[in-house]
Symmetry: C2
Subunit: 205 residues, 2 copies
């Protein structure tokens, strides 16, 4: 079988593997990592447990694939939000607005799907979490590059600026996701951190 996907395919169960990942996603989203189980996923799909072992070698692998999906989804949300920013005549303002949009998207995701965000950045089994979520990382770097070419950020910071921005946004998102921040403080916390990051990038030095 060289065509892994058929359209209305209805052989045994349809496309099980994807269905399993999605079911696992929903389980985690509503019950945390410990709500995930091979047998529970199987039951939710009307399938016996060993069937899943045709598509995943272990529970850890299933969890890992969910985490990959989540990181991808996170990146996609960032590009979507960035594309929704209204262009401005001021190129610098436009670029800054886009930067803010991708940061907000990152934190929004963590706030809306905290359990998913948590499992997305944890080592499961032996699988690596990947070079800090490549898509999201690339988007951020792109933004900072534009800052530099527009003269918003000094060239001297080209290498370090993405690192501090990434750390700050990721830290903020983490704290929001695990409810380290009282929910009433979240808006002010978010605004403060995002403003601080921009401020740090804008600095003339």
């Amino acid at each position: 079988m060289l065509t892994p996907k058929r359209k209305g395919s209805d052989y045994h169960h349809g496309d099980l593997k994807s269905a399993a990942v999605l079911a696992a996603r929903n389980l985690i989203e509503s019950g945390g990592q410990q709500a995930l189980g091979i047998r529970r996923v199987a039951e939710k799909l009307g399938v016996t447990a060993p069937a899943l072992y045709r598509h995943f070698t272990s529970l850890d692998e299933l969890l890992y694939e969910v985490s990959c999906d989540v990181r991808a989804e996170l990146g996609e949300l960032m590009v979507t939000r960035r594309s929704e920013v209204h262009p401005s005549r001021d190129k610098r303002k436009y670029e800054i607005d886009k930067f803010r949009a991708i940061g907000d998207a990152y934190v929004d995701y963590a706030q809306k799907f905290p359990k998913l965000f948590e499992i997305a950045f944890i080592q499961h089994g032996e699988e690596k979490v990947g070079e800090y979520s490549e898509l999201a990382w690339n988007i951020l770097n792109e933004s900072v590059e534009n800052f530099v070419t527009l003269g918003i950020t000094p060239k001297s910071k080209r290498a370090t600026a993405p690192l501090v921005a990434w750390s700050a946004v990721h830290g903020l998102a983490t704290l929001v996701a695990n409810q380290s921040i009282a929910s009433s403080d979240v808006p002010f916390f978010r605004e403060s951190v995002m403003a601080g990051i921009e401020d740090s990038l804008l600095k003339k030095n």
Copy 2:
């Protein structure tokens, strides 16, 4: 029994509860969260599993107590490192050095005990992770307060500065702990972020 602790006490097993928390700590430290198990802790202590249920209502509670210990340990490391900073005639330099010391301590801990750091900031069961680790948070705030009184940091940033510093350091520590950063890049990453934070605090605005 109103005296919960005796010295050479040797009733049944000695002080089991503490021993269990410590054994659990070691299990997590060397095998991740999934290496923790009631039965494994029991075996490691030469005790049967149900004995532990005299001290913990569930595995989740044991894990929670470990996480509390870890957060406390993290705070203690910060005060220790801060106290080891050599005083300087320049009060500002001294304060900045201390600030750097507590930040470095935070990240050092995450790098040395990544698994422990990970479980310290995750919701387990229903227990809250606590208002962002009170001890560490207080230490950071104290530092920023001193910055403000010494005129290093503008008063306008007194409320927001700790938030961005906390986010950035915590994000950096998280990324180091879960190996999102290739180990060869860690030193540069750390230096960049720490410098960026200080730079953001020092800014005159």
